[in-house]
């Protein structure tokens, strides 16, 4: 059997995978967000307030928390349509920080002192199941019409518009689906640690999924999965290094990017692995 501590690590891994995929959706349409921490906060706080203060059953609270994040995602996505590239990075970063400042001042959820009282919901099977659902959603999207539209926009927005893709709608959808998934990660996290505070959802939280996806690889959703797994497990493997653990983590990140600027996983690698896997296994994914 797995040790309880290892189970804890796996729960975090699952939540990080969901968080990484939350960034994959907007990225697949060429939109980088450094504000996923903000959406995570919205999902975490909304669901926690519902379970702890309103006594809602958790599935309903999770659903509403996710929906709230999606709604705010659409609201942010709208003005974000006007900005791109580095400006979008800075704008989403600012959004994430504004959400943090909001919760820092929002008394009903404890303001600066944080919020507690939510039940323990997030077990390993639940996280694993939800991570799988999100991963399948990402895989399905990638091979669908919508996914191809996203990819076209990512490559060349103008060309995508010319061939009849509704760029505005596609970008909004990608952005708010990403926000919803980040909100789900937030709800899971909150009902795992049973205590949340605004500082947890600051800039470093938004940077996390970004590093997962960039280190894992921007080309396919496998990159997000592998990146989240590698960067969650790496500090555990490096535990023997004691206080040098995080320094080496930083160096490892740098080295990976220098050696493989496209990230750990690219299309070629996915294809190579696919050829190795015997056909019947692929039936399920169809």
């Amino acid at each position: 059997m797995l040790g309880p501590y290892f189970e804890d690590v796996l729960v975090q891994l699952g939540i990080n995978v969901i968080l990484a995929l939350s960034l994959y959706f907007p990225l697949s349409a060429g939109q980088l967000s450094l504000g996923q921490g903000g959406f995570m906060a919205i999902g975490a706080y909304a669901s926690s307030w519902l379970t702890a203060a309103q006594g809602w059953p958790w599935p309903a609270a999770f659903a509403l928390g996710t929906a709230a994040a999606a709604g705010v995602g659409a609201l942010v996505g709208l003005p974000a349509l006007r900005v791109r590239g580095i400006y979008l990075v800075l704008m989403t970063m600012a959004f994430g920080e504004i959400v943090r400042v909001f919760f820092l001042n929002f008394e009903p959820t404890g303001a600066a002192q944080g919020f507690r009282g939510m039940p323990f919901v997030t077990t390993l099977p639940l996280v694993a199941a939800l991570a799988l659902v999100v991963a399948v959603l990402a895989a399905r999207t990638a091979s669908s019409r919508v996914g191809r539209a996203f990819a076209a926009i990512k490559r060349d927005e103008l060309a995508a518009e010319v061939i009849g893709i509704d760029v505005t709608r596609a970008k909004l959808v990608s952005f708010s689906v990403g926000a919803a998934v980040a909100g789900l990660a937030g709800a899971l996290w909150a009902h795992y640690v049973q205590f949340i505070e605004p500082e947890e959802f600051g800039f470093h939280r938004s940077v996390m999924p970004f590093t997962f996806v960039v280190v894992g690889g921007l080309e396919t959703y496998w990159g997000a999965l592998v990146g989240a797994a590698a960067l969650t497990l790496l500090p555990e493997w490096l535990r023997f290094l004691k206080e040098w653990r995080l320094a080496l983590y930083g160096v490892a990140m740098l080295v990976v990017m220098v050696v493989r600027p496209q990230g750990l996983v690219d299309h070629r690698l996915v294809e190579a692995v696919r050829r190795l896997v015997p056909r019947p296994l692929k039936e399920g994914a169809r």
Partner: protein, 388 residues
């Protein structure tokens, strides 16, 4: 009928015997008595955690040299929370679930304690804080203990001395609204106690733990010209607030408690902090032989620094833990882990007049320590006790 009498008598004798002599040393199984400690060795509470770590190591060495707990050596796995809530929770879970410790020493900070306490009903392992001072939070769980004084108890005599010594009639409160104990002090404890002693609160100002610039707060405080400034703060920020006030030409005396009461505060502020009154829960220079012996050992290991009250109470907590384990029927057999943990909790709830280096410890119905507060003041960059 006669048998029942006999049983009661035998049991009574047994209980009296146990209380009087403790469980015989050979009573414990296992290779070691495993305890965990979650201390804030880095981050904003670094000095508190560092002192707790040193004090714990001293106590563990002494105990093991004298034959351990119930004949078995004690091992304390000390973990660093970074004074952050997330790691405090995950480290407590690791110690309880993976390392299978009998009980946990710490955490020091109220924010950590407050978040961890409600989870203990599920984890079924006790914690005992050496410095958490926010009033009321031990009541969150029957598994949550604090062998220390809450900040209302620390501040009450301190405010009286501060008011009398400096003739303070009006005050400004500055507190860290992101830190649990500081916020409780700034928004509840200080206003209530200042009112009790007839000090008018002219302005209440806040900052956030990570802030480095306190110029705006001091300029504002200065504009209402109070007789003194009361802080709900931790020592680093408190020191910077004091220095900023002097820089802007304010000469008023400061008041603090709990997290301000660290020798490092006196060192950082130096001449500028002279005369600050601090409510606290332990005096390292107590001439009592036990305390003096501890102080000597502590200073050998800390490079000459004197311990704050968190360090002193950590030392006491290890000895109380030894006492509880030896007297509450703990077997320390792997199969008895859950029962042992419950026995230790039970034992802690009954601690009464334990004679330690900080004085006599009695745990009240909430799981909080009781006793007389220590009032300190800064003199020549040192913390000195004020008699009252």
């Amino acid at each position: 009928m006669r048998y029942r009498w006999l049983c009661v008598v035998v049991m009574a004798i047994a209980v009296v015997g146990l209380l009087a002599r403790g469980v015989p040393a050979a009573g414990l199984g296992g290779k070691a008595v495993k305890l965990g400690a979650i201390y804030s060795i880095t981050g904003k509470g670094a000095e508190w955690g560092e002192h707790s770590k040193i004090a714990t190591e001293i106590a563990v060495e002494e105990i093991n040299r004298a034959g351990g707990i119930g004949g078995v050596p004690v091992e304390v796995s000390i973990q660093d929370t970074g004074t952050e809530v997330g790691p405090a929770i995950s480290l407590a879970r690791k110690l309880i679930l993976e390392d299978k410790v009998l009980a946990i020493l710490g955490p020091c900070f109220s924010s950590e304690f407050e978040a961890l306490a409600p989870l203990l009903d599920r984890l079924k392992t006790m914690i005992v804080s050496q410095c958490s001072a926010k009033p009321g939070i031990s009541a969150l769980s029957t598994w949550a203990f604090r062998n220390t004084l809450t900040s209302d108890k620390q501040l009450d005599p301190a405010i009286k001395i501060w008011k009398d010594r400096y003739g303070v009639k009006s005050a400004v409160i500055i507190y860290d609204s992101a830190d649990a104990v500081s916020a409780a002090e700034g928004s509840k404890v200080l206003p209530a106690l200042l009112k009790k002693y007839g000090v008018e609160v002219k302005e209440v100002l806040t900052y956030q733990t990570k802030d480095i610039d306190f110029s705006a707060q001091i300029t504002k405080a200065k504009s209402v010209n109070p007789d003194g400034i009361a802080l709900g703060a931790c020592y680093q920020q408190a020191a910077n607030i004091v220095r900023e006030a002097r820089k802007q030409g304010m000469k008023q005396p400061f008041l603090g408690s709990a997290c301000v009461g660290s020798p490092e505060f006196a060192k950082l502020t130096g001449q500028e902090g002279e005369g600050t009154i601090i409510g606290s829960a332990g005096w390292p220079d107590d001439p009592k032989p036990k305390t003096a012996a501890f102080l000597k050992k502590f200073m050998e290991r800390s490079g000459g620094k004197k311990p704050n009250y968190g360090g002193m109470r950590s030392y006491d907590n290890v000895y109380i833990m030894k006492h509880v384990i030896e007297t509450s029927g703990v077997t320390n057999k792997p199969g008895d882990l859950e029962a042992d943990r419950a026995r230790i909790r039970e034992g802690w709830s009954k601690v009464k007049d334990f004679d330690g280096i900080t004085g006599l410890t009695t745990i009240d119905a909430n799981g909080d320590g009781t006793g007389k507060a220590t009032v300190l003041t800064v003199k020549d960059s040192q913390l000195v006790k004020v008699e009252y």
